[in-house]
Symmetry: C2
Subunit: 107 residues, 2 copies
DNA sequence: CTAACGTACAACCACATGGTTGTAGATACG
DNA sequence: CGTATCTACAACCATGTGGTTGTACGTTAG
């Protein structure tokens, strides 16, 4: 079962896609503008954009014959929060261990 | 060129691996303890652990004949910070746009 | 010592991924 | 209008991924 989180992390697991994301977060760009920036075919870039789109990290809006790709910062926030949750679990565990150590010291 | 960030995100792009990570962050577990928790072969779980290890999200330490897997919270922090950077880029952009709009209003 | 356990790793398979080229449909420009 | 541009998508290929089974080896228990 491929969940949403899978798609987001998978989308981010490629340097080209991360670069595309940082570009379109700064300011929207058409697919062909993006394509010109990388040493690969238009179709390849188009596929990368599609992966980012499936993960809801970017969205596309028509402007004439162009398709403008824009960054969706909300999805990024969600992932970041998810990682913070993992960190929180670890923090709690560390606190628990520390508490046990202190109890031992008092005994 | 596969960079370190690729490996980390790829490691996190699988529900089983994220689950393993959350388990071993709570407390270290042997590979076979982990293997018993999932409906797949020992070898499959072993591979998942290897992927997490390559991404430096977990580490292994011998304890007798067992191999204890432990979560490496530092790597998580690095990824979280990386995502925060993307968010920061967007925040700056939003601030820039707002400034422009205010300038227009004054004119 | 022998048997059981925990691990490592190779070989194999089905399927996904990242790339290519080619074709075709909209839309804008001269 | 015709033509160039931007996009979409299918077909194809090499390689990677997630799973399997089987074998081998070190370590512990009896």
């Amino acid at each position: 079962m491929v969940v949403d989180t899978d798609r987001v992390f998978h989308a981010l697991a490629d340097a080209t896609r991360r670069d595309i994301l940082s570009r379109v977060i700064r300011s929207g760009q058409s697919v062909s503008e993006l394509a010109r920036a990388y040493p690969m075919s238009f179709a390849a870039v188009q596929k990368h954009v599609a992966v980012l789109e499936q993960a809801a990290l970017v969205s596309k809006t028509r402007r004439g014959r162009e398709q403008i790709v824009t960054g969706e910062v909300e999805a990024l926030r969600r992932v970041s929060l998810l990682l913070d949750e993992y960190e929180e679990i670890w923090r709690q565990r560390a606190a628990r261990i520390e508490r046990i150590l202190q109890e031992d010291e008092q005994a």
